[in-house]
Assembly symmetry: C2
Homo-oligomer: 374 residues x 2
């Protein structure tokens, strides 16, 4: 009778409506039935991204589409700007270097957002692309994509945004803001298991893709678009995951993008308030509404805390990654999460902190959270 | 109450045991629980491939691992041998060319196996890799991998085998035959939905990978091995699909590799006998036990036949791909298929052919199949 609660920034809890369709008999993908389903998925993703641009879908986790945004837009020696302020921003730099691009990497202190003015300063007519992250999952930082897009869109460079963990939690208006490539994944705000990634591609990005000389095949944008125009895929798609995605997209469309943004802002706000009431500090000075990174309190062993929560209470938070291991823990408020889930998370945190001898008034965290959520 | 029967060469029918675990609550992948599950998957795949070599697993369909076998082994300008005798053999050529390798492509008439002597003739000390297909899904051809491996293993070239559709149906002994890279997918003999690919990598292939200068990231073999050694993955894995794969691997290991090979040989033999009894001819002169390609009888519209079977009887066969569209149809005998499924397929075929006015003695096909299967 043990219940499990998942607050990791992907995979997130999968709603029963989506779990159950994955257990239905599979069907063949080169059929009208599949194309109709896939068209609904494509339409739903356009709604989520607020775009009329082409949307391409891949059977891979998010990093696959990130690689696609490098292999399809650039040629060897092309100059690009990336931002190193966390594990996922660094990943763009790693991929660009793996493909032989010339990377101008902006180093940002982990926990801080990138200053759009710094990007503006480094832009020149030679820069082909700027790679940024909406929510830097590793630090819980929300970057100001609207301002960055305002700057980049006035130059010849295309703007590529990793929106994998931020999507639906931190606002992103692909067409209105002029974002050329926006990348998403299935296992975050879209609430299905990992194994599907996607991205939108603007006219400006297609023009750049025309001249790209990087090798590509599985993540070939042009080949994928040609199929997507017929609600098809060049290679075998992840049929059961797409079927689940149609369910969750239908839920998301039903709730409405803007209502969800308000919900997640409130949920993240409740986590922030609860943490503050417990005397805890956020790691990020520009917190995302998708995931909240909290500094480990003095004298508390994060690994011990997270193990107790997971093993004894069935509550999974995420620890820190790379150089933040042992220094922070992360509570996710994306996807299939509501106010009671946040209270459960805060309550578990209180139990864990008490167990480890941290001093605070029991109930202070959940009271503060409830005040935000009422 | 309509029942659906799937005889397409991937996705194949998913057993209820595997369907049901995909509907269970998801869990986080950076946990002991996931690593234990993933280790079982890795061990099962080694059993299936009959290898002690490293096995790498990717969240992608099979083409992703095929691309990995090019990006990780080669450098621009490297000389390779590929075989063009069907859609999937051609794909290796396409990927190698996309990456700037120098491709010596052996052209084989579609429906015929490649002559190992032709590969031997073209081999030289300069050839870095030979890319071949165990079962060419598009034509139902089984290539003699054992003989090819015997030839290639005596040269400096590595042998890469696309075993995606053939695995467990057409024999493949990776270590005994000296196959350097054997590639598989999830949605064929392993009976789970599409979205997972894998490959084994020999010492000889690792040595070649050391000097590879092709760009790679998502399908990076070395990075993937480093994680696999700790039962982990560098990027988010397809958690629910791996969970299903553990179930089907446990079924496969329970049945035994050699028993399954015998089963599928009998099932394919029954399809061959049934087709012959109906006066139909196989397209391939070296038929695979995974999928049987049958020539369209004179005057019968294959598209109409397959639509009738699918829409009216719930029975899905596959048509021909590329230049074989309208000329053949394919019946798959891999994965979760038994003798009664083959009789159902033959019976549906008889109903369809009668409906379209083809002349034969009703029952001749299923009788011939039963004689093989008894």
């Amino acid at each position: 009778m043990r219940k499990e609660y998942l607050y990791s920034p992907g995979p997130t809890t999968v709603p029963p409506e989506a779990l159950s369709v994955m257990a239905k008999p599979i069907f063949h993908h080169r059929t009208k039935r599949h194309r109709e389903m896939f068209q609904e998925v494509l339409d739903g993703l356009k709604y989520v991204l607020a775009t009329q641009n082409d949307v391409l879908v891949f059977a891979s986790s998010g990093t696959g589409a990130m690689e696609g945004s490098v292999a399809n837009l650039l040629s060897p020696g092309d100059k690009v700007i990336t931002v190193s302020g966390g594990k996922f921003g660094e990943r763009f730099g790693e991929i660009c270097r793996a493909y032989g691009a010339k990377v101008d990497e902006i180093t940002v202190e982990w926990g801080h957002a990138v200053d759009p003015a710094e990007i503006e300063k480094r832009l020149s007519d030679e820069v082909k692309a700027v790679y940024v992250t909406l929510c830097e999952t590793s630090t819980g930082v929300h970057n100001d994509i609207q301002s960055i897009a305002g700057i980049v869109s006035k130059t010849p460079a295309v703007l590529v945004v990793d929106a994998i963990s931020g999507l639906l939690c931190d606002d992103l208006l692909v067409d209105e803001w002029n974002i050329d490539v926006a990348i998403g994944g299935s296992q975050k705000g879209l609430m299905i298991p990992p194994g599907v990634s996607f991205c939108s591609v603007s006219e400006k990005a297609w023009a750049l893709a025309e001249s790209s000389r990087m090798p590509k095949y599985y993540f070939d944008f042009q080949k994928t678009k040609k199929s997507a125009d017929k609600a098809d895929t060049p290679f075998t798609p992840a049929v059961t995951l797409l079927r689940a995605l149609r369910e969750t997209l239908s839920m998301v469309c039903g709730e409405g993008r803007e209502n969800l943004l308000r919900l997640y802002a409130a949920l993240a706000g409740a986590v922030h308030a609860g943490a503050a009431a417990l005397g805890l500090q956020l790691f990020s000075n520009a917190p995302s509404n998708a995931v909240t990174a909290i500094n480990a309190p003095e004298g508390i062993d994060v690994t011990e805390l997270l193990s107790f929560l997971r093993d004894d209470l069935g509550v999974t938070f995420a620890g820190g990654q790379a150089k933040l291991k042992g220094k922070i823990f992360r509570i996710c408020s994306m996807g299939y999460t509501n106010e009671f889930d946040i209270l459960t998370a805060m309550s578990a945190l209180e139990f864990g902190l008490k167990k480890l001898g941290y001093e605070f008034e029991l109930g202070a965290g959940i009271k503060a959270a409830e005040e935000v959520l009422q």
